[in-house]
Chain length 162, copies 4
């Protein structure tokens, strides 16, 4: 089994890398690298650092790039790490891809934080990739959802069925 | 959706709680409590602190207790945290339970460790519970296995298909 | 022994608290609270959440506020958590306070990060408070410096003697 | 400035390194290595992995070894990481060393734990080394004590003045 991880940015990858005048968060290396470094993964994988943006900053060009990567990649199991604020918008761009299991996940706290939910979410996404039929899914907070059946709740930040 | 978590002990729960003469590891409170405390779980759950043992110490009486809990519990989605050394032995005791999705998981490093794999594994197990048909499974290192198709590799510690 | 901790902000306190549209870092609760919560402190303390700013944003009014708090506080052992970029500028405002041991410290990574240096630095500052004569000091990276004998190196981010 | 760190074992270094049948805690690599790896130390240091024992297991031969290392080492700033249960007993063996600042420290939770106090204590010890006159000290829970003025409280685990 092989999984392709695509980095787009979002909270999961937020870091503060500068030694001097490190004013604001920046998107660092893919959190997935560090997470898989801890788990002795029993599967093959590749990590594609495609985009490094907060999901509120993603534009159509970015989403087209994600779509093309998903379409052209030879693998049929894909996990996309992505900011939660616009996850469903990006998912819509992939809705015509019919032969792959594509799972969006992310985090409400950066992987760099010791109280992050990122390892849990990536663990869920890796499992969803293997057990779900082709389709576009969102995996967060211990749940899996079809991409077009949820929205992010504007107070709790959780995904709720619509 | 509701998930029942059953604590049996194992590395995932190892802790060093004593302030004085805290010589050796002990099994502490269920790691699952702390893990779910970080993820804003989007599902109902209960945690049953059934046993607190290294899995090398589990005996037939313990396994019978686990079996009875699984049989009698009203819920059909169960995650059992368990030491990896004898996970498949305990799973065998549950093999006659036909109407529930029961997932064993654990960790190679205690949840208390900052480089633990426990959040990843529990995240995987929670997802497996929702997406797999009834049966007894082992979820570790990013993979799901039918309980009777794997054994723990005696050098790497990973589960390998047999 | 009693120590007064004054929060001014800086990297040590950076957090990402919002569940929705949590775009940028914000200064959260004092990191010192969480740090002291882990160590079973064997001394009395108070924590004063005076300012919540990146140190590049501190202005004269803010520095006056810090100065007044230090002067008026009844305690003679004070630890100020502060961004490193302008630590020496703020220290200068306190240079007329002659009867207190005042120690600036901070972090190059937020306390929220699992690879943060914040606990080490606060541990150093707490010790410096007890063992040094009255004066204004900067404690970072395992060293203590008189405030007017160092500057922050613009590449490494460490404090170097001048 | 140069600091010599001597590892003797104790809770600070407890780890669970085995992939298979990792039943009990073992003393791993010096925690000080990992701690200094996070802080961009602004001083020179060496780490001497002298002993790897719970302090309840240290015997006279071990203590003689620690004494000889302290006497023969060319450096006059020494931090000894050590289990807290018998710290004062070992300190007594060093009480004739008059020209060095020797600081004992340790942890109530292993450095491997995310809620460990080890970074705080080592940060305190590093500072104590620089600011205190020659002597044998114990630094724990944010306090520094002359070695012969304290004992470990048998309920709280803290050091109390006697």
């Amino acid at each position: 089994m092989k999984i392709t991880f695509i980095q787009t940015g979002g909270t999961i990858d937020k870091d503060l890398p500068k030694a001097v005048k490190g004013y604001a968060f920046e998107i660092g290396n893919p959190a997935v690298e560090r997470i898989l470094g801890k788990i002795k993964a029993n599967f093959e994988y590749e990590i594609i650092p495609l985009l490094q943006k907060d999901s509120l900053d993603l534009n159509d060009e970015d989403r087209k790039k994600i779509q093309e990567e998903c379409e052209n990649n030879f693998n049929d199991k894909i996990v996309i790490t992505h900011g939660t604020d616009t996850m469903t918008q990006t998912a819509k761009w992939l809705s015509e891809i019919k032969n792959k299991t594509i799972v969006f996940t992310g985090a409400s706290k950066p992987e760099k934080f010791w109280d992050s939910d990122s390892m849990f979410n990536v663990g869920s996404a890796v499992l969803a990739c293997q057990t779900l039929p082709p389709g576009i899914y969102i995996v967060m907070n211990g749940r899996v959802h079809a991409w077009d059946k949820v929205k992010k709740h504007q107070i709790t930040g959780q995904f709720v069925e619509i």
